[in-house]
Every structure is written in structure tokens, then in C-alpha cells.
């Protein structure tokens, strides 16, 4: 695809691809913006945006298209909100294969349809070859937050329990293995998924959840460090309780990565009162996206706001936040 000579024709073709894939009443209005109904009385709006850049564009378990839908839905949903609408914008590199674009857009549309969250407005720009990396997708989501619901990173209290909805490290390891053509005995599949169904189910049974987060870039470790600082608490994890798929563990050991720092795209961290913990774990486990949910640690009083992990032999290890990549440090 390109602009210049024949560019207009190409732009029309692209519009066609989007229109057909996402077809819905708001896009069909043909206006510059979508006109949407106001949320119910007492509800508040929640809005999140995320730019998606991923290499490779296609990976086991998904592609940039569905990822850009899931990522933004999850950011809205972890606030306890019902995701309602999405907006999407694309930056395409000149020369990007139309077939790949169709595949991505269709995957994105399917993800939106499956999630029940329509893409109601969008935009596309094409940049010169060499000024982009195939395709970048930016999505924005809007959701409705019921009155009185207060879920956020600053709400953790000492004595609370930390729960994760399933195995960690899958997405980042899958991406890296695919990008570097590293073959492991068992293929590692990204966990990319929209979590609002799981979350709705959880909140129905355990409405008092205090904190929810999706541990994406920087992994579980970074997310928990953010929560610890926001809430002014410490967090203590049990290494043996954290679900990690064996093939992910082996790949991470091989590559010298710590799965705690590897990105997830379909996992939920939940912090709730100890009294709610069992109910929360069973609620998560009852949902197809939470079958491996586990209680992995607790919130503690700690003026240092350390996140730490208990290892074998009663040992403990710091789970620091990292300022960049995992740099070598053993002297």
C-alpha cells in the first residue's frame, strides 16, 4: 500500500477493510465522531488508552489486533468498570502487506465482537516506508463505573491477600520465543484475553475487592511494586505458590529472565481482604480464564514498601522494580 499515485485508491481500500470488519451502527453513521448514550444515573465514566507496538505482529495465541482490543478493555475493566466502547487508530507503514492488514483487522474485530465492546470510531494514517514498523495500533476504551465502587492501586492494606488469576510470564516469553525463533519442547502461547467477563464474575461474588491490575509490561513484579508504593505497604509473596507454566519457567531460566518481570496480557492481580480471599479464588477458578488462580502472598506493613518473595529454606529475596532491562549485577 502507499500514497502518492494510486494512494487515494489505496486509502479507500483500507477504509473498506475497516468498515467491513467492524460494521456497527455507530461506524455506519458516517460522522466524524460517534454519538453514544450517556451511562446510567450515578455511574461514572472510565477511560483508558494504550498504544500497541509489538514484534512480531503475529505470535502463538494472538496478534497485534486482538492484543490491542484486550489491552484496553482490561485497563478499563480492572477499575471495576463495564467496558462499553472502543476507538482505534492505525499507523501503517507504506508497503505493509494488505493480506496481513486484513488478518489483523479481522482479528481485532473478532476480539471486539467476542468481548461485546464495539469499535465505534477510528482513524488510519500511512507513513513512509522506514518510518514505522509495519503497523502500530492505538486503542481507547470507555467504560461505566457503578456508583460507590472504589477499586484502585492505593487501596491495599496490611493483612490483605494477593491473588493472581493464572500462570504468569506466558505472553512475554511467547513473543520473545517467536521473535527469536527459539523452539522449546512445548510451544509457549500468549495469554492475551479480555478480562472483563472474569472480573464481572469476581465482583458479583466478591464486591469488596480492593485492588485489581493487569500485570502487563514489567510483569507481576513491577505491578506489585507500583501497588506497594501507591498504598504505602509492603508485599510478601510465596515463590512456590506463584503459578508458572513449566515451559515458561524453563525458557526464562535459559534466557536468564525472571518470569516475575515478564509481560502478561490476560492475567489479573487481585488484592482483597483476607476474609474474602477464599471466595475470590473460587470465583476466579470457576471462570474459564481463571482456572489456575492462586493466592500468592499477602500485604504487610513495611515502611520501605518492599516487595519480597519467600523462597525455599526460609530465605527471602527482594523483588525490586527495575529502571530498565534486567542488567547483569553479579560481581
Amino acid at each position: 500500500m502507499g500514497h502518492g499515485a494510486g494512494g487515494r485508491a489505496m486509502a479507500q481500500l483500507i477504509d473498506e477493510v475497516f468498515a467491513r470488519a467492524f460494521a456497527n451502527e455507530w461506524l455506519g453513521q458516517g460522522n466524524d465522531a460517534a454519538v453514544l448514550p450517556a451511562p446510567a444515573a450515578g455511574e461514572r465514566l472510565v477511560m483508558a488508552t494504550d498504544a500497541h507496538v509489538v514484534s512480531p505482529l503475529f505470535f502463538p495465541g494472538g496478534d497485534i489486533g486482538c492484543l490491542s482490543v484486550h489491552g484496553t478493555i482490561n485497563d478499563v475493566a480492572v477499575m471495576g468498570a463495564r467496558p462499553l466502547y472502543l476507538a482505534a487508530s492505525f499507523i501503517l507503514e507504506e508497503g505493509f502487506a494488505l493480506a496481513d492488514l486484513v488478518r489483523i483487522v479481522n482479528s481485532m474485530a473478532a476480539a471486539a465482537r467476542e468481548a461485546g465492546v464495539p469499535v465505534v470510531t477510528g482513524d488510519t494514517k500511512v507513513v513512509e516506508a522506514g518510518k514505522g514498523d509495519g503497523v502500530f495500533i492505538s486503542t481507547t476504551g470507555v467504560g461505566a463505573l457503578p456508583a460507590g465502587r472504589d477499586i484502585g492501586g492505593a487501596n491495599a492494606r496490611a493483612g490483605d491477600v494477593v491473588i493472581v488469576s493464572g500462570s504468569i510470564g506466558d505472553h512475554g516469553t511467547a513473543i520473545l520465543s517467536q521473535r527469536e525463533s527459539l523452539a522449546f519442547d512445548t510451544e509457549i502461547v500468549s495469554d492475551t484475553a479480555a478480562l472483563h467477563g472474569l472480573i464481572a464474575h469476581l465482583l458479583e461474588l466478591v464486591p469488596g475487592v480492593r485492588v485489581m491490575r493487569d500485570p502487563t509490561r514489567g510483569g507481576l513484579a513491577t505491578t506489585l511494586n507500583e501497588i506497594a508504593v501507591q498504598s504505602g505497604v509492603g508485599i510478601s509473596l510465596e515463590e512456590a505458590a506463584i503459578p508458572v507454566h513449566p515451559q515458561v519457567e524453563a525458557a526464562c531460566e535459559f534466557l536468564g529472565l525472571d518470569p516475575l518481570y515478564v509481560a502478561n496480557e490476560g492475567k489479573l492481580v487481585v488484592i482483597c481482604a483476607a476474609a474474602d480471599a477464599d471466595a475470590a479464588v473460587s470465583a476466579l477458578r470457576a471462570h474459564p480464564l481463571g482456572t489456575e488462580a492462586a493466592r500468592i502472598g499477602e500485604v504487610i506493613d513495611d515502611p520501605n514498601h518492599f516487595v519480597q518473595i519467600r523462597t525455599g529454606f526460609g530465605g527471602r529475596r527482594m523483588v525490586d522494580w527495575l529502571s530498565g532491562e534486567q542488567l547483569p549485577r553479579i560481581c
Binding site: E253, F254, F313, R329, C331
Partner: protein, 786 residues
């Protein structure tokens, strides 16, 4: 006016003594000297040290000054004596000890010291009132640093504050001529701390004799946690392999060697070949663990203590409590003769710091944290206020011309903390936070640098907290607030974060110091130099100023500035820090660089990932590289099959060194190295040597060839660089200098080539001393005009 020749001329001098002169029996010492020399006057402590006025015959006054220097009490250190004449007062009669000037704060807290000979004589004298009292001490010995909360050093600021002295003890404490004059921890069985023995469950054992009971338990294979000076030890009978194995398993210790306590030098000789320097260190008042060359008896009778290593860590008793265990074992003889007799009892004494946690110091904490490890606890009610591990040292005859036998630190703590290291110049007070492993912090005051006790590895949250406490404690006991902080360049160390946070809070500058620059600066600091020198840093990994992992560097260092003028050839780290724990990965990395990637999989077939690692090595962007000397050691050990995975830090290098020593001298590999010039200086490449090791079938010979070749290569590389830079002094720093061959042989060769060689002696050459170097760089950088 005619002079009166009938009376000898009287002279009066004001004398000021600086150094470690408080709390060590200095005033009674001056008092006794004055009596002997027939001088009148007075002596007292003040904020600067000790001041005195002496009046008498001029010759006697000179003798006083000379003898203050030469006969100072064993725990004292005289840094300077300044005198001036003042008006004589013929009416002045007698010599008095005056109380400290009001408001004057004593400036130092002494270090802990092994029980002295005088106290031992009392301890084993059935007629003495302190016979077998486990907390006997005097101004020449006993606890200081570990029982002190804050300045001034005074009983009320120690954990002895809760013990009121009985009249007999008080009389000693108040008598200027007594050995216990102002001995702050002075005590006896009537008024002082008491022992108690507890079962694993924390229940007190109903025994009249906790020491005899403890010995019995040890002899029957139990593991007993014993409270010492700076923390608890886990103790078992070193001759009981089952007990040793159980301790290893319970502590999760892997194959890391244990230190052993024996009764005396005569007993130590049974287990190790001791040089006179080692005997002096073992028996010194600091009583470090000394790494000694082990005899076959160790492997035959102390099974599993120091597997695959040529050395064993030995230590002699240093608290009265330790002595009493050996006294019981000897059958409780009267007098001190038994102290010279060989005993078979050998006790594993390992720091009670399970799982890399800080050393346990508190009784309640011991019961919780040592649960499941200790079968019993021998504790007492004198609190430990400053945690302090055993120091670990190596004694070696120095190769340097004119130098005496020079002990070196592996770990600097008990017996040395908080002794200061004198710097070449005064500067603003700097708090340096060190790096990450084996960390210690350092606070400067004037021209003195106070290195904290060894704290530990900052991957453990408890150790991070301990580091924060150690930094605060140093500020408190030195009564000083830093005006700058210094830290490593690595952004993700707790030490770096703590430094930046403190700088922010105090509004003072934070100075990042490159890791290997700091290693060299630490050596310069203790030698009171600022450069220019050629620094040779042979180390594990430290972050370079270019963001890559350095560790085998030639740096020109001048004041606060440095320049990288050479480095080892880089090796890929397949799997980052995983490669630092798995020498087989470094061997794979070397094979890959030789173009023999296909050999990796068959060679390391038993290692998980061996079949795939070539794929990783084929992708340079997935493998950070390092110029670290330590990783070259690992690669050599991996290629020789000496060690494929490490149980503990530096295991591969230590085993390689031990193997080389067992083989004896070997020829260096012909053309085993190459030196190339690149944009960052002279690059030393040892790949040809490793290619030869990859073919070697005898690991011991391979280890010996590795060391021989490495030494020749380093000599070649360093001498050429020194010539090129027109420098005649080299400073050696970094953890690899714990290797005896590098520590001993490299300085010998370099001095034979006409270079002046500076090495680390007062601080460990590894990261345990790095805070000293950071502080020294910061001081120089903050010097006016810089």
C-alpha cells in the same frame, strides 16, 4: 636574677593525644607512666581524645611522650601527639585523673577484642571471684562496638546499662590504677549478665551448668545456636559428619565451606600448615577466621567441611564463653597451662544467617529464625546492639620489597569495626553506600574513613534493612551528618536507591562512582594516595560508564578522574546473570567465540539448555557481554569440567585455584594470549589459552596452566600499559585478588619489572571495600577547585 642550681629545672608540658584513646584504659596507663617517671599533673578525656599536663624533669617528660607512643594499651591506636610548653607550677604535687570535661563527647567507640591474658588467668583461677564467669572483661579486652548504642561511649549508652555494678565491681571501676578503671562492660557473676540454655522449643533447660550441658549436646551431635559478640553462631562438632551434614541441610547451605573453632594454636596446627603470619593472625586480639592451608587430617577427620578446597577457615576462641567450652572439654583444669595443650575438639562455627538473612542478634529473633535449624540455644541477657559478623582474613608473606607480612581481608567486621582508615586529606563528610554483594557502607569524618561491618548481599530484604540501619548507626556513633553521598552506577541496587533517597532528603550532592574506579580508589585511599596510577581491576561484573558490564579493566586514575585504557576481551553472557552461576555457560560462550559452537551440546549434554545455547549465542543482542575477569575464570573452570554449576559465589574460581595448587608449578601456554589495541585501549584476549584448556584431559594440570598463563599475560599487558601511560605505580583491586596466586605472584612480578605495586590491605579487595573507594572519589571530587 641568679639561677638556682640547687634545684633541678622543672618543665611542664601540655600534651594532646589523638587516635583511639578512649575506653581502652588510656588514662590509667598515662597515670602509671607519670607515677613511674615522677611527674605531677593531670590527664582527662575530651572531645578530641586525651589531653594531659605533665610536670617534671625534661628528660622524664620526653620519656613520657616516647612511652605513650611505644607502650600504649593494646586496644589503643595513637595517631598523633602534640605538645607545647606551659608555665611550670612548683606547687603542683602528684598526678590525677580528671573526669571528662563537661559537655565534651568522646569521639570514638572501640572495636571488640578477644578476652585478654590477664582476664584468662582470672577466669581459670578457682580462687578468683570471676572463676568461670563467661562475661569477664577489662579495659584491655571484651566487647565495645557490639554493645554500644550511641556516643559518648559510656555504660549508660551500652547494653550493660541494665546491670548495676555490685560494690566489688564498682570499686574496680572507680580505681584509677585498676585494669577495670572505667571498663564499661565490667561485671561479675553477682551483678552481670547470665547464661541460659534453651531447648529447641524455647523452654529453658533446668541445668546448673549451661556450658557443660551445651558441650555434651555438641559432643552428641546436636546443633546449638550460641550467642557470641556480634551475633549468634550455629555450632556443631566438626568431627561428626552426620551433624555437619544436618547443619548443611538445615541451613540450606550447599557445598560452601564452614569455619572451625579450635582451642589454640597447638590444636590449629593439627588441621592446617600454619605460617608464622597465620599464627599471629589467629592469635591476634581481633581473632578473625583465617583461611589456612589444610592438612590431609581435615579431609580424613573433618569430613565434608571444605570439600574440594585446599584451605580451611580456622578461628580461635575469643569470648570467655568460647574458652569455657574448651575448658570443660579439657576437664576443667586450674590455671592456664591447658591453653597451650592440643585439643581434638573442633567446632563448626557458622554465622547464624540462614537463607542469606542478616546475622541473628536478638534472643527472641533467634528462637523464631533459627527454628528448625538449632536443637538448642545457649544465650545470655546482654543485648547485642550492633550486629557484627566474624572477620575473615588471609595471611601471606608479601612479595613487595620492604613490606612485612601483610594480612588481607576477605571480610572485615568484628575486631576491626569501627576502626578508621586514615585518608591523605580531610574532606567533607561523605556517606558511601557500596554496591550489591558483600556490601558494607562507609562514612568519612575529617581525614578518617569508617567502613561499616560486612552487611551482606542486598538481594535479601532483611539485608537491605540492615544496610539502612548500619548507615544510620555509623552517623550516630560518629555524631556526623553526611554532606554528600556516593553510590554505584548501577541504578537497581538498593544501595544506589538508598543513597539517592538520602541525598534528596538532606539536599546534598549524590556522586555516582564507576564500580572499578571505586575498587582502585579504595586501594589508593588506604595508601593515602590520589594518583596518578595505573589501576588494575580484576573483578566480577560491575556496570561500566558505557553501560556495559566491565570487570577486567586497566584504568588510569588521578584524583577523582579516571580513564579506561584497557580491558579483557569481552565474553558473551548467555542468559545474563544465569551465566554467572553456571560456568558451563561461560565455557559455551568461549567455545562459541572459538567458532566451535557445535562442540557445546555434546560437551555439556547433562546441562539443561545445552542443546539450545548455541542459538542464544548466535544472537548477540540476546547476550550481554562482559569484560569480567571472574567470568574468564568461570569459563576455564567450565571447560576443564572443574565446576559446571556453582553452589556459592566464586566457587568455580576457588576450586580452580585449589586444583592448581595441588598440581604445583606448570608451564604457561605457548602463545596463550594476545593483546590488541582498540578504541577503548589495550584488549587482552585469553581465548588461545582457553582453546588449549578445551583440549586438556587433566583438570589439575589445566588449572595450573591457566594460572601460569594468566599471570604471564597480565604481567605483559600491565607492564606495557604502564609504559604507554608513563606510570610507575599500579594499584590492584577487585574480587579476583582473593585468588592467592594473583594476590601473591602478580605483585612480585610487577615489582620485579620496576613498578611500585599497591594492594588492598586495610579493606577487602572485593566489594566489601568498594564503599571506601566511592567515598575517596567523592571527597576528591568535592575538593575546592575541582
Amino acid at each position: 636574677m641568679a639561677q638556682d642550681f640547687s634545684q633541678p629545672r622543672l618543665e611542664r608540658r601540655h600534651i594532646r593525644v589523638r587516635g583511639v584513646v578512649q575506653g581502652v584504659g588510656f588514662r590509667p596507663f598515662v597515670y602509671r607512666l607519670a607515677q613511674t617517671l615522677d611527674l605531677s599533673g593531670w590527664v582527662r578525656n575530651d572531645g578530641d581524645g586525651v589531653e594531659l599536663e605533665g610536670q617534671g624533669l625534661p628528660g622524664n617528660l620526653s620519656a613520657l611522650i616516647a612511652r605513650i607512643r611505644s607502650e600504649a594499651p593494646s586496644l589503643a591506636r595513637v595517631d598523633s601527639i602534640h605538645t607545647r610548653l606551659c608555665d611550670a607550677d612548683p606547687a603542683d604535687q602528684g598526678f590525677t585523673i580528671r573526669t571528662s570535661e563537661s559537655g565534651a563527647v568522646s569521639t570514638t567507640i572501640g572495636h571488640d577484642s578477644a578476652v585478654c591474658a590477664d582476664c584468662l588467668a582470672e577466669l581459670f583461677d578457682p580462687a578468683d571471684r570471676r572463676w568461670r564467669y563467661p562475661f569477664i572483661n577489662c579495659t584491655h579486652c571484651g566487647p565495645r562496638y557490639t554493645i554500644t548504642r550511641a556516643l559518648p561511649y559510656d555504660r549508660s549508652n551500652t547494653s550493660m546499662a541494665t546491670f548495676a555494678q555490685c560494690p566489688a565491681c564498682q570499686r574496680e571501676y572507680d580505681a584509677p590504677v585498676h585494669r577495670r578503671f572505667h571498663a564499661e562492660p565490667n561485671a561479675c557473676a553477682d551483678c552481670g549478665p547470665q547464661l541460659s540454655l534453651l531447648e529447641a522449643a524455647g523452654v529453658r533447660v533446668a541445668t546448673r551448668d549451661p556450658i557443660a550441658d551445651t558441650l555434651l549436646r555438641l559432643l552428641t551431635g546436636e546443633i546449638v545456636a550460641i550467642k557470641g559478640l556480634g551475633g549468634f553462631h550455629l555450632v556443631c562438632d566438626a568431627r561428626n559428619p552426620e551433624a555437619v551434614e544436618r547443619l548443611r541441610a538445615r541451613k540450606g547451605r550447599g557445598g560452601k565451606p564452614f569455619a572451625v573453632m579450635v582451642a589454640n594454636l597447638a590444636s590449629a596446627r593439627r588441621w592446617a600448615r600454619l605460617a608464622s603470619a597465620e599464627e599471629a593472625l589467629l592469635a591476634g586480639a581481633e581473632r578473625p577466621v583465617v583461611l589456612c592451608e589444610k592438612r590431609p587430617s581435615v579431609d580424613n577427620e573433618l569430613w565434608g567441611l571444605a570439600p574440594d578446597l585446599g584451605s580451611i577457615g580456622l578461628m580461635l576462641p575469643y569470648t570467655p564463653l568460647h574458652y569455657l567450652l574448651f575448658h570443660d572439654n579439657a576437664g576443667r583444669p586450674s590455671g592456664t597451662d591447658w591453653l597451650g595443650e592440643v585439643q581434638d575438639l573442633a567446632l563448626v562455627m557458622t554465622s547464624a544467617n540462614p537463607g542469606g538473612e542478616p546475622l541473628v542478634t536478638d534472643n527472641q529473633e533467634a528462637l523464631q529464625r533459627l527454628k528448625g535449624i538449632a536443637d538448642a540455644y545457649l544465650m545470655h541477657d546482654r543485648d547485642i546492639l550492633s550486629r557484627c559478623d566474624d572477620s575473615v582474613m588471609v595471611a601471606e608473606r608479601s612479595a613487595l620489597a620492604g613490606a612485612r607480612e601483610t594480612p588481607r581481608f576477605v571480610r572485615r567486621a568484628r575486631g576491626f569495626t569501627p576502626r578508621s582508615i586514615r585518608l591523605a586529606q580531610k574532606g567533607v563528610p561523605v556517606l558511601a553506600f557500596g554496591a550489591w554483594l558483600k556490601n558494607a557502607v562507609c562514612l568519612t569524618r575529617g581525614d578518617e574513613a569508617f567502613l561499616s561491618e560486612h552487611i551482606g548481599d542486598l538481594d535479601n530484604p532483611g539485608v537491605c534493612v540492615a544496610m539502612d540501619q548500619a548507615a544510620e548507626h555509623l552517623q550516630r556513633i560518629l555524631a556526623i551528618q553526611p554532606e554528600a553521598v556516593a553510590h554505584d552506577l548501577h541504578p537497581d541496587f538498593h544501595s544506589t536507591r538508598a543513597a539517592l533517597a538520602l541525598a534528596d532528603r538532606l539536599g546534598v550532592p549524590a556522586i555516582g562512582v564507576q564500580h572499578h574506579h571505586a575498587h582502585i580508589a579504595a586501594v589508593l585511599a588506604e595508601h593515602r594516595r590520589s594518583g596518578p596510577v595505573l589501576g588494575v581491576a580484576l573483578d566480577g561484573v560491575g556496570l561500566g560508564s558505557d553501560g556495559s558490564a566491565w570487570g577486567g579493566e586497566l584504568l588510569t586514575v588521578d584524583g577523582a578522574a579516571f580513564e579506561r585504557v584497557g580491558h579483557l576481551a569481552p565474553l558473551a553472557l548467555p542468559g545474563g546473570d544465569q551465566a554467572a552461576r553456571a560456568p558451563w555457560r561461560m565455557a559455551a560462550s568461549a567455545l562459541h567465540r572459538m567458532g566451535r559452537g557445535a562442540d557445546i551440546a555434546p560437551r555439556f549434554a547433562t546441562q539443561r539448555g545445552a542443546a539450545q545455547i548455541k542459538v542464544l549465542l548466535d544472537k548477540p543482542h540476546l547476550c550481554p557481554t562482559t569484560t569480567s575477569m571472574g567470568r574468564w575464570f568461570d569459563a576455564a573452570a567450565g571447560l576443564l569440567g572443574v565446576c559446571e554449576r556453582m553452589d556459592y559465589d566464586a566457587e568455580a574460581a576457588m576450586r580452580l585455584e585449589s586444583l592448581a595448587a595441588s598440581y604445583g608449578s606448570a608451564l604457561r601456554a605457548h602463545r596463550g594470549w594476545a593483546v590488541r589495541e582498540d578504541e577503548s585501549g589495550a584488549e587482552l584476549d585469553l581465548l588461545p589459552l582457553l582453546a588449549e584448556l578445551a583440549r586438556e584431559r587433566n583438570p589439575a594440570r589445566g588449572a595450573a596452566v591457566f594460572h601460569a598463563t594468566l599471570l604471564a599475560a597480565l604481567e605483559d599487558w600491565i607492564v606495557a600499559a604502564a609504559r604507554h601511560e608513563r606510570l610507575s605505580t599500579v594499584a590492584l583491586g577487585g574480587g579476583c585478588f582473593l585468588n592467592r596466586q594473583l594476590a601473591f605472584e602478580l605483585p612480585r612480578r610487577l615489582s620485579a619489572r620496576g613498578l611500585e605495586v599497591l594492594t588492598a590491605r586495610q579493606a577487602p579487595c572485593n566489594d566489601g571495600g568498594i564503599a571506601l573507594g566511592q567515598a575517596w572519589v567523592a571527597i576528591q571530587q568535592l575538593q575546592p577547585g575541582n
